[in-house]
Subunit: 348 residues, 2 copies
């Protein structure tokens, strides 16, 4: 019998981003005492003494993660920092430092890089963090940004993804879906512009959505707020890939299920209007649209009184046993299995 | 009078890599008490308690930093880690963790990424470091690797670039130039292969050079060795861009000059042979060729007796007053100003 000698080739898209990471990192075991938490959360946790260091990193590629047609470089620089700080916030840590590496093709003049760094500098100022290093090099195509963020926290303050317990409340900060609809508005304007470059867009009805897309903020305020309220979440994650995807991360790592209530999901009125204009189901977007950079966390039921009056927090569901799995409870009171349809960079 | 409204466009190559970094980072001031040392050395130094954390990051781009035509993915993964660990060694710190972000275009199957991660995993094992996080995404073109390395050290152990003093000895580990000549051999073989793909290269005469290029090692042993010898360098850097470039970094930051002796520069016999074969001046390559990942450091003259018998170290020169500037003293005893002709990613 003849052997098939064709080397096996597996398409990356078959695995998906999370599957790929799991697959490639399964051989990494922890060897150093200073590594308290390795791969598998929003950030790693390192022990160098009294305070713990929290480390997270992100790679942003032009044409995959951003489109310079409608993303001004200054905003891009700001957002690239915010995205990483958000991961540090998701550990209930305080962001303190970042490294920034940038690769650009020859088509970028210095002035373009200056704009990018203006945005990075502004974010460093606003969030009181230090840019401690990086690398600048050339790329064969487009702009590539790699940022690593470092934060600090006392060991007992750090919140992981794996601590949610049956009966805990599921809470989200701010509102959801607006960043995704902001992107839809910008994509539409780009197409209009390509047809008629003289067309002056009137974006007044979309300012909030566009700002959520182009200039998101990291919820560094939540750590302080929770401390004041004397609440420590049992688990936490940031909403970068979409609410359903993030809920499922918490449930998987905490070995629990959850009920998410459609009617509770916080959205902005402008978001609802634009969903109607685009004829898109707003709940689908609020659940699956990414890039909001809000925080999703669980708290013990006993802590409900401490947070219930606070406008920053919305209770959107509760944790159930693992066997009960994770569901969306619709306004019509039907129970739909929750699926991760979050943004997947490898499906592009 | 008419104003020139053309926006100013400055070519990045006008500034060079170091000029660009200086220019873009001049606005970054340090705000956090935990930032002991920010931009400007091989790595940043952070204070989270008893031990200090040392952080360095690198971005590697296909077609700029490596060529997959002769760089096997396994070796690339290994080298990408080593390059970063070398920066940590250059701070006299112990590498402990890395984050790894990878972006790939669709042409890469999973098996290719597995090979890359095999090399990363091997390096993590050899150097006893933890891979604590990262990011996997798609690129528009080619393979992009971003690695951040973290190390630890007691504050009094850390060696910066700025401590060299007049009269100090300039010392280099291992030998220099071989990695660069290994690259020349591989480039030549690639061209031969393109003309005649059936040609089987005989690379026996070049094994050391090729290994220096494809599988460099980080000098994690030097920290221990210096500790045993009870020598603390006054300044240190790793030789990634070429000896002359690194010497000038130390001199600039230490506000000193130096005399480098041509006859003292350590090179391998294979390197000399291949320079003759290629009809290239070996000193030019030993001084300007990059990617050796050896360590360059200065010690007080009083410490000379402690290191003089050690085969790992070669005294190549000494530090002089800043006004005397930096020179190469040739075998013919002529004094030539030392210039940084190191590898510049932005000139490609």
């Amino acid at each position: 019998m003849l052997e098939d000698k064709t080397p096996q080739r597996t398409q990356l898209s078959q695995l998906g981003e999370f599957g790929l990471i799991d697959h490639l990192t399964k051989n990494f075991d922890v060897k150093n005492a200073s590594t308290l938490k390795s791969i598998g959360d929003d950030a790693a946790v390192l022990d160098f003494g009294t305070k713990k260091a929290v480390v997270s990193t992100d790679l942003l590629i032009e044409g995959v993660h951003f489109d310079l047609a409608y993303m001004p470089l200054r905003h891009l620089g700001y957002k690239a920092v915010v995205v990483n700080l958000s991961d540090i916030c998701a550990m209930n840590a305080k962001p303190t430092q970042i490294t920034v590496s940038v690769a650009v093709s020859n088509r970028f003049p210095l002035e373009a890089l200056e704009e990018l760094f203006d945005g990075i500098t502004l974010a460093a100022k606003v969030y009181n963090i230090d840019v401690i290093g990086g690398d600048t090099t050339s790329s064969q195509k487009g702009l590539i940004i790699s940022i690593t963020a470092i934060g600090e926290a006392n060991e007992d303050e750090i919140v992981y993804r794996n601590g949610a317990k049956e009966g805990d409340l599921l809470i989200v900060t701010g509102d959801l879906g607006s960043a995704y609809m902001g992107l839809q508005v910008l994509e539409r304007e780009k197409q209009v512009f390509q047809v008629n470059p003289n067309n002056q867009p009137d974006l007044d009805a979309y300012t909030y959505l566009i700002e959520r897309q182009l200039k998101p903020e990291a919820r560094t305020d939540i750590r302080e707020l929770l401390e004041q309220l004397n609440v420590k979440p049992t688990s936490m994650i940031d909403v970068s890939d979409g609410l359903s995807s993030e809920i499922l991360h918490i449930c998987k790592q905490s070995k629990v299920g959850c009920n998410l209530y459609e009617e509770k999901i916080p959205v902005d009125p402008q978001f609802i209007n634009v969903c109607e204009e685009f004829n898109i189901d707003s709940t689908t977007i609020a659940i699956n649209g990414g890039e909001d950079y809000e925080l999703l966390f669980t708290i013990a039921l006993d802590d409900f009184d401490k947070i219930k009056a606070n406008p920053n927090f919305t209770v959107v569901g509760h944790i159930v046993k693992e066997e009960e799995s994770s569901h969306l409870i619709t306004r019509a009171n039907t129970k739909i299995p929750l699926k991760a349809r979050g943004w997947n960079a490898l499906e592009e």
